[in-house]
């Protein structure tokens, strides 16, 4: 593996290798595989967890980080330089690039114009493959298995890049999907057809209560209002959970969320045994360490 642009670039075995190595890092594995390496961390769009966990992962592996967290300070924003030219030049200064950009496909563009490994840290509404890896790690770590998980996904299934990537990965592990979303925010027919082709069981629901007793994991997402192009006026109130939602939950249920959260996941859930989202985000460090080690091995 030399790049990670889309979760569909990875085979099931490659994903499992990353997750198993992440578990080793969580158990205390030490590596200096990035010593004498410089990694460009290029965040053209705001990020907290992804950027800082990558920076931390690089430094824990002995590497150095260059880059920016605010593209307003670059020639791209101030001197009218094209994104393509900017990426080419950064590619000449570093041994690998981690890129987040608000436009769909920006990471693929970086891959096409640079001669160094590229890691997509989120490109518009398209993909966020390292988030998916840490979502999968949370499933594996909390459930002890990956196959035939009953996975509920609630919220914005149309605009969310984490949802798109997670559903792609769920196909590899034969998960059973319970999709909880308003009609306007469901996936399109062809995406559903691809689930059928992969023999993945899926069903649609209007609230989490009706299926909570079946779920092993419930993945919540934030409404991506900033990505709505056509003023979609949707009432999202029924797609938030509260402590009552979890009355009939199985003891092994874990609630996952890519964060940041809003009204869909109130703080009252934080103190329940079902909350796993902060640990999920914290373990992103180990997943990103594993990914970087595999990339440079």
């Amino acid at each position: 593996m030399h790049n990670l642009i889309s979760i569909s670039d990875l085979s099931k075995n490659e994903i499992l290798n990353i997750l198993n190595l992440a578990n080793e890092f969580k158990q205390g594995r030490v590596s200096d595989i990035l010593s004498k390496r410089i990694i460009a961390s290029c965040f053209f769009e705001a990020s907290t967890r992804t950027r800082l966990s990558f920076d931390s992962a690089i430094q824990r592996l002995g590497g150095k980080v260059i880059g920016f967290a605010d593209s307003n300070a670059t020639s791209l924003a101030n001197k009218g330089e094209s994104l393509s030219d900017t990426l080419k030049i950064i590619g000449a200064y570093a041994d690998a690039m981690i890129i987040r950009h608000p436009q769909d496909g920006a990471a693929r563009l970086a891959h096409d114009v640079c001669n160094i490994p590229i890691i997509n840290a989120g490109d518009g509404a398209n993909q966020h493959p390292t988030q998916t890896l840490l979502d999968l790690f949370a499933i594996m770590y909390t459930q002890g298995r990956m196959e035939e998980i009953n996975l509920g996904i609630m919220g914005d299934l149309k605009h969310g890049r984490t949802v798109r990537s997670l559903i792609d990965a769920a196909k590899l592990f034969n998960m059973n999907l319970f999709l909880i979303a308003p009609k306007e925010l469901r996936m399109d027919h062809d995406q559903l057809f691809s689930l059928k082709q992969a023999s993945i069981s899926y069903s649609f629901h209007n609230n989490a209560e009706e299926i909570i007793d079946k779920l092993d994991c419930l993945y919540l997402t934030r409404v991506q209002r900033e990505r709505f192009i056509d003023n979609e006026n949707i009432n999202f109130d029924s797609y938030c959970i509260n402590s009552g939602t979890l009355d009939k939950a199985k003891p092994n249920l874990k609630i996952l969320h890519p964060l940041p959260r809003r009204e869909e996941l109130p703080e009252v859930i934080d103190d329940t045994p079902f909350a796993h989202y902060f640990q999920q985000a914290a373990d992103g460090l180990y997943v990103r360490m594993a990914l970087l080690e595999i990339l440079f091995t």
């Binding site: 889309s6 094209s82 994104l83 393509s84 950009h101 608000p102 436009q103 769909d104 496909g105 920006a106 693929r108 563009l109 490109d123 518009g124 509404a125 398209n126 993909q127 027919h189 062809d190 057809f193 990505r227 192009i229």
Partner: protein
């Protein structure tokens, strides 16, 4: 078969063009301001398509790139090469696996809007032709593509 447009002495005949797309092909081949004689049939009856367009272009031949480009507007169209009033070659156009810098990605957020576009072709569950953007990974029905770099 009814004759719609006068016979060609030399040139090409493109038949079974989905109706409405003949003008795209004329534009793509830059024929509006050329010295080539072009016969255009629009909205003609067709058993296969219901309605079709047809083009006859005198003293004009297509290279492989032109054929690939035309196949985007006229998948499964029939191309006949004519010399001395006789058809010397006949082929059914087929879509290339990859389409470069021709389709403008309908995704308003796609990075390719500022660069060269690249699409792969595929078919969906209903055997309709779709194009998938190399950059944003979104898939679109070919019939829904409205903007081209032509």
């Amino acid at each position: 078969m009814k004759k719609h447009i006068a016979d060609l002495e030399n040139g090409i005949n493109i038949d079974h063009i989905p109706h409405g797309n003949a003008l795209f092909i004329i534009q793509a081949l830059h024929l509006f301001n050329s010295d080539k004689q072009v016969g255009v049939g629009l909205n003609l009856p067709s058993n296969r398509l219901g309605r079709k367009d047809l083009l006859k272009i005198a003293e004009y031949y297509l290279n492989d790139n032109d054929k690939q480009m035309i196949s985007l507007f006229a998948p499964n169209a029939t191309l006949s090469v004519i010399k001395d009033y006789k058809v010397i070659e006949k082929m059914v156009l087929s879509l290339p696996k990859e389409i470069n810098n021709l389709v403008i990605c309908p995704n308003k957020r796609c990075v390719s809007k500022q660069y060269k576009s690249k699409f792969i072709t595929l078919t969906n569950r209903k055997q309709e032709i779709k194009v998938k953007c190399h950059y944003c990974e979104q898939e679109f029905l070919l019939d829904n593509i409205k903007q081209y770099n032509i």
